[in-house]
Amino acid sequence: MRFALRVFGVLLAATTFFMTLSMIEEWPVFRQLFARAPPPSPQPDRSAIERRMREFNTAMARDERAAPEESMAAAALREDQQFRVRRGIRQELTLEELTLGEVRPAGPRRIVATTRERSRLVISRPGGVPRAYAVKGTWRYTLAMRGEALEVVDVLPEETDLEPLDDGKVQ
């Protein structure tokens, strides 16, 4: 019994000693345990996210920059627009329905949101006639919080379907 207590004492003392040294070495990590926890970063509510997505899609439909910031999505949009001008492709994408799905944090001040969308796409290529499609499916948006503003950083289609409308003839 005495031996066991002695061993326990040694273990306790050694653990305390080396734990203290470790905590000093890794103070930036351990400080969070002792310091008062910082207030959680405000998460935008779902309506704000949805509103931002609708604005982004409207801006995209107008071939404008989606956001005043130099986001990846805005740069890709600009590149897309220049490509279409070069190739003589005319494209109108009109958002008809957008339902916000799952929203989850993806790092500090960054969220990933999925949407179910339906859009009307009219596209014409050089020498071809304009064709109309319904674009339906799910998209994944990555949004960054810049101060109070939300910026669409990236958008990718996940499961999507392109369905010709009215035999492809544009009304």
């Binding site: 040694v10 273990l11 050694a14 995209m60 392109l162």
Partner: protein
Amino acid sequence: MRRVLGILGSRRFADLLLLSMAGWYALLLAWSQTSPLAIVQRIGTMWAFRGLYAALAVNLFACFLIELPRALRRSAPRTVPPGEFPPPGHEEVATPDWDGLDTAEVSLRRRAYRTRREGVRLVAERGRFAPVLGMLFHLILPLLLPAAVLSLANRQTFSMDVGEGEVVEPLPGGPRARIGVERIDPRYLGGEIYFTQLTAAVSVDGAPAREIRINDPVTVDGGDLRIVSMGFMPGLAISDPDGALLDRAFVKAGLFPPGTEAELTFAGSPHRLLTSFYPDAERGPDGEPRNATLNLRRPLLKVRAVRGKLPISTAVLSPGESMELEGFHLGLEEARLWVKLEWVRDPSAHLALWLCAAALMLLGAKVFWPRTTWIVEESDGGVRAARRVEAPAALSDEGGADVP
């Protein structure tokens, strides 16, 4: 000074250090259940741990200094006073094959004993220096620490991904040699994802290729070049609407977790290509490709092309097939294996390895070659023999030995 040496080399100090290490390793084990390996490794190399190892090295060295003179004293040739038989500490052993001292001497010498005559007795000994061997074993342990420090300070590591059939020219920080991989041959357990064997035929500076395995490296520029991992790389070519080749490249394909998509882009186009690679593809019930095995037999590349937020087209390509992409043509030319080769030059590692081997040999000699003494004397037309086997001595609390 002697007192300080006594404390540093004491068994109590060793107990304290070993118990501390045991406690910390238990904590690390608990941590490893909840934290990634990298974090546990980081904790395990913190200064507290390094201090612990350094303290253990000091303890062992001090113990060596204290114990060596005693071990040398215990290794001195032992004289057995004539008279009483068997002598104190010896046990009598029946030896019917020995009919005289001469046959006993021949037999014992054959078993690596050193023999001498003391009056009417034959004295044979082996393993006389077993106590010193034990001390040398303990000396090697603190020597391993500087070897490890030297290794950390001088270790050169360089990784490269090389495709099958590819030759890599010398790169800064890497081996000064041209490395070519002629063939890669992975084998899997039951066709599943676990390797049973991964070999690559590697040539150095154009010499005939040598087959290397994960644990069987080849020596290049003073270092060891070994395989670390492997993967697949589809070879893609993209041409513009006029048919001019824009780009041709092999891209690394990730297979795990299933459903992983690699994203590719190419200059002059806003398209993003989301690709999934299947080295041995079969069609699932839904018609979608899936992997039957990880062998490169029936490669397929599924490509989802996206422009802006619009899905442009989706295709599943076999080697030799291509897809149209708003004027561009994207073709899958072939698929190959690649290996990650790691080159490590670490002269101190060899030193540490030899020290470990020497330590094991010394420990083995101490344990399996204990000091053994035979006393043989003539008796009534035959001989009688006694033997003493000395177990390795334990250290006392004060750093001394329990055996006088």
